[in-house]
Each structure stands twice: as structure tokens, then as C-alpha cells.
Symmetry: C2
Subunit: 388 residues, 2 copies
């Protein structure tokens, strides 16, 4: 097992009716900015619950944070935060709103820093000043409510970059499973796939004798597979299934299962490019990459593929090459079972074109990914060419 | 799933050589009290590593905190903390030293409170003042290094009571698996059993549709069973096995798997009495209770016993009463496989006498335990009578 530090001070407030607890968690004297996305929270009652809980607080709104939050939008918010002297940020939404709010939290008070450097030059880790933030989660998927990461897009330059800083852990995150009742089925599906891939990226590498982390990761994968059919029930939604869904997404990327083990974030790395170039939803981009990455790296990931197949996918055949084949197929089949395509061609994207574009960008930036940092632009291209 | 709050801000610093990181984690200007137990840290090199890391700090020592830390000992420490105006506590040891330090942390600055009331009247939850503490773990078992609980004994009155307070989360806990190399095998065995029972007490109740927590608990149980033989290897010790051992003990009681599910701490409740009356080590007391409690409550715990048997103990027979029998036997067999007796008679304790003593105390206090609070003194006695 590798050495590690684990630190996650976010307070999770979980369950039915918990939005009312906001009033006690947001400092009474704070000047609050309420950040949200396209306004769905005004249709589904969440906005009213939040404003009711904060009726004795001073609240300034900033709506319109888009999926894959855009740098230009966030720069407007930063300007407003500075001008209005905001001292608490409340993100109400999904990963995009929360990620955007983390960026605002860190960029706003550090005026001496060029905000883009937080992403492009990875200066986030050393910044201690941040405006405290809390979240009300309405779209489970990314676990941003329970970690210190954020991913920001810059449409102007077709870039999508991430940062991490202990300063942006939410002080609290309120997770009320009933807020998911108004989600369309494709967003539930996206969340299940996103969480599944998050776990895989912290697990599907090579063994380092980490018995605990392996079992914990397998637990989350089995939980996602077990809960999926009930999570997708719409009429009526199943409370416990939605609660499991919210909680598994949060646990998939709260730094616990990834502590002390090698990780392979190549699927996210390649997927981000597909979102930037072709507008695929984040989870859609992951599902058209992961199975083909496993196929491409099957020799390097052999031992973990065999373990995952045996324990999670119930593929117990002793002929190992066959077990690996069936295991990767079962992974694709799981994505398809929740209605998620697993090929670029399903979206009308030409794999050869995507391969060329992604390779050019990775090579221009000198990027390589994977647990051995050996997935280069050429490998990313080879993986994408399989996705047909 | 039940509503819950989850909060655990302790920073875990894990791995080989991490004691040297103390110097950066303990505030430079703090007046530090170093707390430890019977002095084994002076034999195994841990004391020297700690003092070396803190050579630029002002350190006052308090040794002699005994297993099942005694109220009288801790009161002496509290007096010294107040007199010397200590402002950081560093616990170096196992659960007893850390639990004792948590009590000192909370009692010392709250001078208006009678210290015993923290235990007897459960006032801990409301106390905000506490002297900050950090830990260097040398004896994995209780997870005290990663939670907000403590158990304190008062030999004078043969009592053993617990408290919980968010104010006593360690600021950091350093977990270096090599510190376990000097542990005798029976302490390793105790830790494995303690962690196993901690998980069971948060898991073995009745289903509430908590797919994630169930899978996470089963993951830890399977991990303990998988790692046990390697953990007990003494010559030479296996680094990865000891790392897994340290980490599984911490994860067994860091509040995560117990979030949102019913719990049954009757095994601990009964076990504490056996320690108080007969001096059984904590884990020994748990192993002579749990299998018999499962036997006694097999109807009430039927659904979870079947699930646990199928998923963890590989008992897949479709005749349910048989599966339950074999599952409870497999639990006892696992304890025995690490060298842990599962009957009171193994320790020369008369089950009938123990039953009478425990029942009298539980009834005098009006105690009842279990996920339905229906395990009374009479039930505790019935469970103990089976332990032969």
C-alpha cells in the first residue's frame, strides 16, 4: 500500500426534509450568494425551500451556471462577489454549480492571482484564502459536494481543466434524496455511470496489496449495479433507491477508496475532450471510453480485471483470457442496461476524427495519463478508434 | 434509509516514516503534553521518533495511562494540564491512551463541569471548548484515532462508560504500520476481533434499504477475514498486511458504515461489564458475547443474518434455518481461527455467575440495548448463559 493523507471535513446532512436545516448551518450575519444553474430549482420547489430556510439571512442570487461551468460565466460571478463583499457561497444544484462555486470561492479573495492560473498553472493547492461555501445537492453524480475537486470549462478555447484545494471543501452539504424526484431519467442514468467510472478509475490499475480499498471499491460497484433498476423507477420514484443513489455518488469520489492506491484517470482525461469537441454529456463521454480503455490495457490491468470480474461481475471461469473478455463485456452491458450507449458511433461521432483531434491536443500539451503515465495521445487515439 | 449527519474532520497521515511529519502538524508555539501508556513506546523506538520530530517544541510528558483508562489516572492528568497551561495534547498509543486523552481534552478547559458528568450525564455533546489533540497510533483496534468517541473506566466503582463529542476529533492521526511490528500476536488478534465486531454492530440489525452501507460493511468484514492470516505473521511482519490491519480498524468505526442505519451495541454493552467484573480484554469480552447474541436474536436479525451468511460467510444454502446456523458457527470459527476463545468458560468464568452480576447491574441502571432497545438485563443474562 502506498503512503497517503486522507482529509475530508465536509459535514453531510442527509435525508428527507433536511433543507430546512440550512438556517442553522449558514452563519446568521453572513452576506450570502445563492448560486444555481438553469433555474430548474425554481420549478421543483428546491428554491422555495432554500429561501424559506434563509428568510432571516441576506441573500444575493447568481443563476445561470451552465453544465460544464464556463469560465466566462464564473468570472462574472467573481466580479459580483468582490463588489458585493459576499462572505458565504451557497451552491444549489449538481456538480457543475458546485464546481463553479468552488472556483469562485478560491478566485474571489485571491485578487493577486490571475484566476485562469488556478486551472492552467495548478496554483490552487497553495491558496489558503477562500470564501466558505455550502451546498444543497440536487443532481447526484460528481461527488463535488463531498470533495475538494472542481472541473471548469473555457468555451472560448475549447478547454476543460481541473483543480483541487483543501480550501474549497464545502463546510456542509445537504443531500435530500427527494430533490432527485424531478430529474429526468437520463440524468439519473448519467449519475450512475459517472459514479461507476469514478470508482473504476481509483480501482482498475494494478494490485498494491490494498485489501481494504479494493473491497471498499468493489462494494460501491456492486451497490451501483444492485440499485440501478430501482433508481431509474420514475412513477413513483423510490425513496430508498434515490437515497442510495445520492449516497453512492458521494462515496465514489470522497477520496476514501483512492487513498493509498494507484489511480488511472485516463477515461476522464479522454472524456473531457469529447465533451469539449462534441458536446457529449460528461457521463456519456465516460461510457464510450472506459470499456475500450479496458480492452486496450487488458494486459497491464490483467490482475485487477480478473479480481473485478470474479468479485463484482460474477465471471468466475478459470480460463483467464475468457474471464477478462466476459468481464469487459459485462461492464459495457451494465452501461447499456441503464440506457447508456458505449460507442462514439452511437452519437454520430466518427471515431477516426475524434482520435485525430484528441491526439493532436494531447500531444500539443504533452499530456499522458494512466497509472503508469503511459497513455499518450497516440494511445488515446487508439482507444477512441475502438469505440465503434 | 434513516436520515443522518456524517462529519469526520480528522486528517489521517498514513504510512511508513510518517511520524517525522509531526513537526509540521503540531503548532510550533504550543505547550504540548505527550500522553502514553505503560512505556512500550520507549522500547519500540516510537518515543524516540516522536521526540525527534518534536525537538523544537516544548513537551511535557504524562505516561502510565492504563488499558481501559482509569478515571483516577485521567484526573491527575487534568490537574497537570490545567496547572501547566497545556494547549496541545499528543496521544501516542492505542485506543486507551487516545480515549483517555479525549477525556482530558474535554474535561480540562470546562472547569465548571464535574468531569464525571461528561460520562454519567452525557453532557459532552454540548461542550465546545476542548484542548486540541493529535494522535500517533501504535495499537490498531478501536478506531479512536478516527472518531469522536471515548470509553473510560472507573475502577473505584467498577464502571465503564462512554461519551461522544465533535470537539474531540483528533486534528490529525499518524498511522505508521511499522509501529505494529513490536506488538505481541494476542494484541493483533484482539484488534482484528474488535474491528470485526465494530462492523457487525453497525450492520447486523434489520434491513432499511441501505444498499451502500450494507455493501461497505460487508467489504470491511471480508477484508478482515482475508487479511487475518497475514496480519498474524510475526517473523517477519508483512508491511502490507499491517497496513491493511491499521486501515481496516480505523474504517470500522469512523462513523461511515453506521450512517443512516440502525445499530446494535449490545455486544459492547455486555462486554464492558465482563471487562469491569472479570478483567477480560475488550476484544476477548466481545468474542464471548457476539456469537451467542446472534444465536439468541436469530429471529429478529433473520434477514441480515441470511444476507451476511450469503455474501460474507459464503453460506449459500437455500434452507434458511440451516444457513443461519452455519453462518453463526462460521463467525465463531473465524474468531477461533485467529486464536480467540468464544466462551466465558474458556476464561474460567462461570456463565451463570456472570449472568447474575450483569443482570443486576443493568437492572439497577435501567439499561436496555439492541437496535430495538429490547435487550434487557434478563436478555443479557440469557445470552451470557449460552456462552459455555
Amino acid at each position: 500500500m502506498d503512503n497517503f493523507e486522507f482529509y475530508n471535513p465536509t459535514r453531510i446532512i442527509f435525508g428527507k426534509g433536511t433543507i430546512a436545516k440550512l438556517s442553522k448551518r449558514v452563519p446568521r450575519k453572513a452576506k450570502i450568494m445563492l448560486l444555481y444553474g438553469g433555474g430548474s430549482i425554481k420549478d421543483n420547489g428546491v428554491y422555495d425551500q432554500v429561501m424559506d430556510a434563509l428568510k432571516k439571512h441576506e441573500v444575493i442570487e447568481f443563476g445561470g451556471i451552465e453544465p460544464n461551468p464556463d469560465y466566462a460565466t464564473l468570472m462574472k460571478a467573481i466580479k459580483k462577489v468582490r463588489k458585493k463583499k459576499i462572505d458565504f457561497l451557497l451552491a444549489v444544484g449538481g456538480g457543475s454549480v458546485i464546481d463553479g462555486t468552488k472556483f469562485i470561492s478560491l478566485a474571489s479573495p485571491n485578487e493577486e492571482i490571475e484566476p485562469w492560473d488556478i486551472l492552467a498553472r495548478k496554483v490552487a493547492k497553495d491558496l489558503k484564502k477562500a470564501i466558505p461555501l455550502g451546498t444543497v445537492l440536487t443532481l447526484p453524480a460528481t461527488a463535488s459536494e463531498f470533495n475538494h475537486n472542481a472541473v471548469i470549462s473555457r468555451r472560448e478555447t475549447e478547454e476543460k481543466l481541473s483543480f483541487a484545494s483543501d480550501s474549497v471543501y464545502p463546510k456542509f452539504s445537504i443531500l435530500d434524496p427527494e430533490t432527485t424526484y424531478s430529474l429526468p431519467q437520463n440524468q439519473l442514468r448519467n449519475g450512475l455511470v459517472d459514479a461507476f467510472v469514478h470508482v473504476m478509475e481509483q480501482y482498475m490499475t494494478y494490485p498494491v496489496g490494498a485489501v481494504v480499498q479494493d473491497r471498499q471499491a468493489e462494494a460501491l460497484l456492486m451497490a451501483i449495479i444492485e440499485m440501478a433498476p430501482a433508481v431509474l423507477e420514475m412513477d413513483p420514484p423510490d425513496y430508498d433507491a434515490r437515497a442510495n443513489y445520492m449516497w453512492v455518488c458521494s462515496n465514489a469520489l470522497n477520496h476514501l477508496i483512492g487513498a493509498g492506491v494507484p489511480q488511472d484517470w485516463a477515461t476522464h482525461g479522454i472524456g473531457h475532450e469529447l465533451t469539449a469537441f462534441y458536446g457529449l454529456a460528461h457521463a456519456e463521454s465516460l461510457a464510450v471510453v472506459l470499456p475500450w480503455l479496458l480492452w486496450y490495457k487488458r494486459e497491464q490491468k490483467r490482475e485487477k480485471l480478473l479480481q473485478y470480474g470474479y468479485r463484482v461481475m460474477d465471471q468466475k471461469m478459470q480460463k483467464y483470457s475468457e474471464r477478462i473478455d466476459r468481464t469487459i463485456e459485462a461492464t459495457s452491458a451494465f452501461f447499456q442496461s441503464v440506457g447508456m450507449p458505449t460507442t462514439l458511433t452511437s452519437y454520430g461521432v466518427d471515431p477516426d476524427e475524434a482520435a485525430v483531434k484528441v491526439q493532436a491536443r494531447w500531444e500539443a500539451r504533452g499530456w499522458s495519463e494512466g497509472e503508469h503515465k503511459d497513455i499518450t495521445g497516440a494511445d488515446a487515439a487508439a482507444i477512441l478508434r475502438l469505440s465503434r
